[in-house]
Symmetry: C2
Subunit: 339 residues, 2 copies
């Protein structure tokens, strides 16, 4: 079987992780990544022996000065690729679609910063893998939406959901993002309900989801509080815990571990030497779950830098139509060391 030839455009927080994940897949070949100028990020690609293709405004001389010989430019990458994973900042993906992917007739995945309409479908592996089979342009939903889609899909499959009311407590900035705030304030997202509910509906239609959001001064993880109203009688807390415990990409944080904050989660995964201290799972506190009447209450932490990585890998296979949902999820989980 021919390997899927993958190019990564944009080598930032998401792009570098997608590239590493592609390298671990037996059915994929990483052609390379794009770069504009030399920096510590490009040094990382060099040390990993990942080929670098210059963007149109790329500074070839800066690369050469620093011991990197670019493998070509973005047009060379587009010519060779079966599929591009576009990991550029918000709105650049939609621009790249018109400028590059359409003219080169190459499949492309976009990230959650783009609008739903950028693709023929939005994607979450659990929720709607099959909708992206054979598609040309697909958007993998954002970190927050991925986290919501996973838990809502998992609960809803077993106990049908009437309505979800959620609050997103969002991290202010990623760890390396020194120019963003807030430093000492809570910033409400002043569109009510926030856009996150409709975004979850792009991969999980038909469930009423209403969300509110605030940004807070932390860099580690997002936290979601969910009040899930079920259509019928509610299960016991231990039944919910059992379901989540046996579901992949969900990490049930047990009380006895003493993991009581996002900082504890990050310390735990660093100790377990996951690469970069990433945790791609929804982290759900067992002791932070409760059942009242028909409502399930729970709180989950979402690692904004990494939770979409396995989804990008599964999305590649769906679009190339090389594996079923179950096969792809199993292979991605085993190659990336996910439960």
């Amino acid at each position: 079987m021919n390997k899927i030839k993958v190019g990564v455009v944009g080598y930032g927080t998401i792009g570098k992780r997608v590239a590493d994940a592609v390298l671990l897949q037996p059915d994929m070949e990483l052609l390379g990544v794009t770069g504009r100028t030399y920096s510590f990020r490009m040094e990382l690609a060099k040390r990993k022996k990942i080929k670098i293709y210059l963007t149109e405004d790329g500074e070839a001389d800066k690369f050469v000065e620093n011991g990197i010989q670019p493998a070509g430019n973005i047009h060379d990458l587009l010519t060779k690729a079966d599929l591009i994973v576009d990991c550029t900042p918000k709105k650049i993906g939609a621009y790249n679609k018109e400028r590059y992917y359409k003219p080169y007739n190459v499949k492309a995945i976009f990230q959650g910063g783009e609008k739903h309409a950028v693709g023929e479908a939005s994607f979450n592996a659990f929720s709607n893998y099959d909708e992206s089979i054979g598609k040309k342009y697909v958007r993998v939903v954002s970190c927050n939406t991925t986290g919501m889609a996973r838990i809502i899909h998992t609960i809803n499959k077993k106990w049908p959901i009437k309505r979800v009311i959620a609050t997103f407590i969002r991290r202010a900035a990623d760890p390396g993002d020194v120019k963003k705030g807030p430093v000492n304030a809570i910033v409400p997202v002043l569109d009510i309900p926030s856009h996150h509910g409709p975004d979850v509906n792009t991969v999980l239609p038909g469930i009423e989801i209403m969300t509110m959001a605030v940004a807070v001064p932390t860099t580690l993880m997002h936290v979601h509080t969910l009040a899930i109203e079920l259509k019928d009688d509610t299960p016991q807390k231990k039944e919910i815990a059992h379901l989540l415990d046996k579901t992949s990409r969900i990490f049930l944080v047990r009380q006895a571990t003493g993991v009581e904050s996002t900082a504890h989660i990050m310390e735990l995964v660093r100790d377990l030497y996951h690469q970069r201290g990433d945790v791609v799972d929804n982290c759900i506190w067992e002791n932070g779950m409760g059942v009242v009447g028909k409502h399930i209450f729970l709180m989950q932490a979402i690692h904004q830098e990494s939770d979409v990585i396995p989804e990008n890998i599964d999305c590649i296979r769906a679009m190339m139509n090389t594996m079923s949902k179950e096969e792809s999820i199993a292979l991605t989980n085993s190659t990336l060391g996910i439960k």
Copy 2:
């Protein structure tokens, strides 16, 4: 009419503000406050010419060295007072009740850190003023509960409420509290639903309130997200805005002001030279409100250092049975410069 003789035990975040507020009331006399040893807080009392009564373990020599002559000890204060406002840290109030207030047969107000059972009633001026009339021991509910009681009472009176689902995004520490965290993490409150719902029910029984809470790295204010399900048809957003705008102790933050975070609120009230930059009102973002079906969504910021101050003043009058609810709220509002 004789003025109500008030003593303040504990001169920290709440105590110093209660003392200042008592000084502004035409029907009250501030006998003084308690102090243990000299510090910048006691220097403040000295400069305001507030009498200081030594606690039992008080260091009289430290006061004298720093130019303060204590007016006596706590027993002298207890002998003279009609009512003590106990502003000591959590659990000390319940201890003081047994140790001091019962033996001296003096009325006492406790703060929200104490349990409901410390008093004969819990108090919020809007919600249940009359329950505290003539009572001997009353607890003024916490800053968060005060904020919830005000908004829920206000909405419920006009549009009966079926259920409230709320998330509290709590400030990590008060501005001067350098020993507390988190600095860079989100810490969920791992009892679900959190204790805040039942606490609101101590002043507003009969409304189903389910709450979740997290602590975040900020010192300025708490933020609450509320999903309020009404029993009957829902009003339009502008009707809700109109109701809140004309309700005292609620500050409707208009979009045009550009006040988009707790930091903006704090800067605004500092500019308006409220003492200490306090804002005792629930600050509700007009643009952060929405109506979907029978649900009202809103977000409010609560200044943890000051929102209970007018409630303490009203509670004094209720317990002394000197004024009706409406008279007391009006007098407190006018003396403290509240809308």
